[in-house]
Symmetry: C2
Subunit: 192 residues, 2 copies
């Protein structure tokens, strides 16, 4: 039986492509094995189990998303950086829905803490927010809100949640404006 030349990397990449094509739920070891022309049991030589595959996929997609964002915000600050950040984020999610979904999967906290990519993602976000003169602890609050808004937006969009005739792109641009506004005037704790 000649070897098919599989490696863990190749398997994960194929999983990413399959996720984008048929959705994350469609990524099974069985489907991947069929794609490679091998038996499903053969994949266990390269990934430990489905959970291992998903973790690797999460890290791959998270890394890609972070790279995209880093490239987009490089050399920019203020609203320009925010818009670039958000645009890169949404474009990645639109172009790679399965990868994006994988990037947001809950993951073992220890693995997450050990991931250079996760750290980098946080640093890029905070660097951008510091240009709005935000510092601890407002930096944390604002960072969380930013992430929530972006994630919520692309998730609802992907789920067909914006059914109104109003073009989503227009609403998106308004949302970026709104985010810029609150980042410039982040509410203090006693603003109520």
């Amino acid at each position: 039986m000649p070897r098919a030349g599989l490696t863990a990397e190749r398997v994960v990449l194929a999983a990413a492509e399959l996720a984008d094509r048929v959705g994350l739920d469609g990524v099974t070891l069985s489907a991947l094995a069929r794609g490679f022309g091998v038996r499903d049991a053969s994949l266990y030589s390269h990934v430990r189990n489905v959970r291992d595959l998903r973790t690797r996929l999460t890290l791959l997609a998270g890394g890609e998303l972070t790279d995209r964002i880093a490239l987009a915000v490089a050399g920019r600050s203020g609203k320009e950086a925010l818009a670039a950040f958000a645009q890169a984020y949404r474009e990645y999610a639109l172009a790679h829905p399965g990868r994006y979904a994988a990037s947001q999967l809950p993951m073992d906290q220890a693995l997450l803490a050990a991931s250079p990519t996760a750290q980098r993602s946080i640093e890029i976000t905070y660097a951008m927010l510091r240009a709005y003169d935000l510092a601890d602890p407002e930096l944390i609050d604002a960072g969380r809100m930013l992430r929530a808004t972006l994630h919520g937006y692309v998730t609802l969009e992907a789920a067909g949640g914006f059914g109104h005739a109003r073009p989503v792109q227009t609403s998106w641009e308004r949302a970026i404006d709104a985010l810029d506004l609150v980042l410039r005037r982040w509410p203090a704790a006693n603003s109520r």
Copy 2:
């Protein structure tokens, strides 16, 4: 073989409770059948298939969430209504993680359009936003952003995405303040 007295409603309710207990992924016809002390095949007398079960679960959870929100905002306006809305939203998600996840599942658009609950949810949201003097098309944009932020927040929270030591409740309160700020000063299209 005496009948176990199952109905579709009972099955869906059990699914909701199981979802909250073990997560939405753990809701299987097999698990439900075990809970009722019947064979899995028996459940097909009450639900057409897994997809039908999920759709019913989505509608149930969506209705509960909408009821909670409606109750919370009744008689309130402005920031008080917003805070009540958001609090009801997050509390439901925290108390019923599986139900909440089910409420956000993509669903057949035709079924969604025919759902009184979905319509009601939209109406409640827009009623609240009108108190901020928002009108079409800003109403749509703002509504989308509100939903995105809330959904993103509770989703990231549930996935353990807010790992920093900063208490999430504090960040949450700041996010509501931020939302109130942008709703009061919703950016116009030419604000750039």
